[in-house]
Symmetry: C2
Subunit: 409 residues, 2 copies
Amino acid sequence: MALIVQKYGGTSVGSPERIKHVAQRVARFVAEGHKVVVVVSAMSGETNRLLALAREVAPSPDPRELDVMVSTGEQVTIALVSMALMQLGVKARSYTGGQVRILTDSAFTKARITNIDDANIRGDLDAGFVVVVAGFQGVDEQGNITTLGRGGSDTTGVALAAALAADECQIYTDVDGVYTTDPRIVPEARRLRTVTFEEMLEMASLGSKVLQIRSVEFAGKYKVRLRVLSSFEEGGEGTLITFEEDANMEKAVISGIAFNRDEAKITLLGVPDRPGIAYQILGPIGDANIDVDMIVQNVSHDGLTDFSFTVHRNDYQKAMQILKSVDAHIKSRGVVGDDKIAKVSVVGVGMRSHAGIASTAFRTLAEEGINIQMISTSEIKISIVIDEKYMELAVRVLHRSFQLDQPSA
Amino acid sequence: MALIVQKYGGTSVGSPERIKHVAQRVARFVAEGHKVVVVVSAMSGETNRLLALAREVAPSPDPRELDVMVSTGEQVTIALVSMALMQLGVKARSYTGGQVRILTDSAFTKARITNIDDANIRGDLDAGFVVVVAGFQGVDEQGNITTLGRGGSDTTGVALAAALAADECQIYTDVDGVYTTDPRIVPEARRLRTVTFEEMLEMASLGSKVLQIRSVEFAGKYKVRLRVLSSFEEGGEGTLITFEEDANMEKAVISGIAFNRDEAKITLLGVPDRPGIAYQILGPIGDANIDVDMIVQNVSHDGLTDFSFTVHRNDYQKAMQILKSVDAHIKSRGVVGDDKIAKVSVVGVGMRSHAGIASTAFRTLAEEGINIQMISTSEIKISIVIDEKYMELAVRVLHRSFQLDQPSA
């Protein structure tokens, strides 16, 4: 008998039929003697419907009120899933984020979980209930409804699994696991049976979209056993996210090719190369709650250097505006930007002990005539920014070049 | 400068356009220096959409979960109205029933308000905010979401007005006041400038549908100045519900003809006429949370009497079932029912001091050949149950017979 947290995304609960299907799977786990906590997203399309409604009333809706509204999407789903479970004779009870008390900070539309009160849930689990929790939402100290930002339901699932010391957190999606890359771009892409936490973190942050990044961070921090599974297939084992590197000794050097077309690049040309300049540039960006991904600064010439970074495309215009006013003080040679870029990343924990990965990647792209605009590396990944029109090509040739289409040893 | 509670129903907030319209009206009141609390229903059609969704998942959905789901309707509206107000430069903040803390009992889908914590709202009003509250919903002692039953947003409005000692509670609907009867049935129906609380209570309970009955009871109990207005017309004075009979000394004897086609009639034939029998019959009905409206029992013959009462048509089948099992003990001569009835009522506070009202009503119906099935009277009304097919005719002839189409003195 295990305690399992199962998270179902918007597509998995996208219709009454699919909700009944989810209830049947949960009922099977209950019949096997497991305690189950179900975390659900809004039915697919619902969040967008609500956002469109908001924009009809106010072009830039107030964030607090947006959260009040958007959080209703999951609230509808928890009720429907609970009803469907009861229909199967399974005791169930729904909880909004506020009812659990998933406490967050007050950063509306992108709040972070600060604490989870697990008393109610534990009580219900002990009394034989399946507990159905609204993902993506919480409540701040003042009782305001908050949301964790899009994709945040994964985070709710993992955070609950951590708080409850669950045996496993299962993320059900429309894919049956983590792949070496997106099979829609590379048909030969293979499902990974395991992937390390670090690799997953890089894959998620780089846009492989299977899991929301914050949820993987959470899982790593609290050592939550995390598994990605298909909600449309039965009996699959999915991909297990592991935390022990040793278990992967014989793994291939490279696990996958991630990519991302959601970013925009901004460069300050000819910035005076003096201490504090990076903070002067990025401080106001951070203050505006804009997340920065890649940051690249090369050696300077004549006391001047170029400073580049990437932000989400949605934040591009805002970031450009901020930088133009910041630049009044910095007096660079100009602020330029490009939102027609793509980031392609080669990810693999094996990279640490193998030389030559970077050169293989660069050679592969050069052979296809793809120009490299920015490079940044971490211990287990190499990220390359290119013109977005070359993205699919780059992913395909890198996938082949690192032999990811071959079964691993 | 006054403190005003304004309640807008589903049609008044039925589209983004209508919501902006509501925001404009609220903004005008704010500009005049008033403090305003806005109570809103779900956008028209939304509650039915949600109920249909629930029934697709479970034929008889769990009431607790139904409330979790249905309450999202108003939650969406409060956010939209607040956004629309902010768009006009008016400071606004939304509250769900749980956030206000509108405390109710735990009778899901038909909860009753037990207490309102007005601290948050008062704080916001003093800080210059318009407070936008979700009608129809509350939270029980355990933190479960409850709803007050359909039409309950009126009750929320009046209860908030009472808790805040508001100067006036304005109920905006799709009619511009309380009429002598429904103008769709009698085109000569006139709007009443004032109506007494007792008359309104009878009119509402008898199905004139302008106000939900519990809200009128609340208003009477807490002496809330209540006004019914059109949300589609500007500048109308609507109908004021008064509590001082003296103000109505010169009023016409009869204020209006109410009617109702939502009830069904149940009769136990040949019931033993002994103490406690009424309780034996109606106790189990009450235990099943079925509301009983009219109850009629006439004198007995040979120790036997007929016992009749009416329930809402939705409860008819359930009530018949209960009575059949109850009848195993009572051993009446049979349980018969009819759900093709209508109730027509003549209402007027002046009735108390005028004889002959009843006879006028009965003669009027007799002249049209309409058979009377049940009669019940109170101090200010006479209710008559007839075959539902005669309802419109009965309303028209009674309206004319009491000269309600003539301007009052």
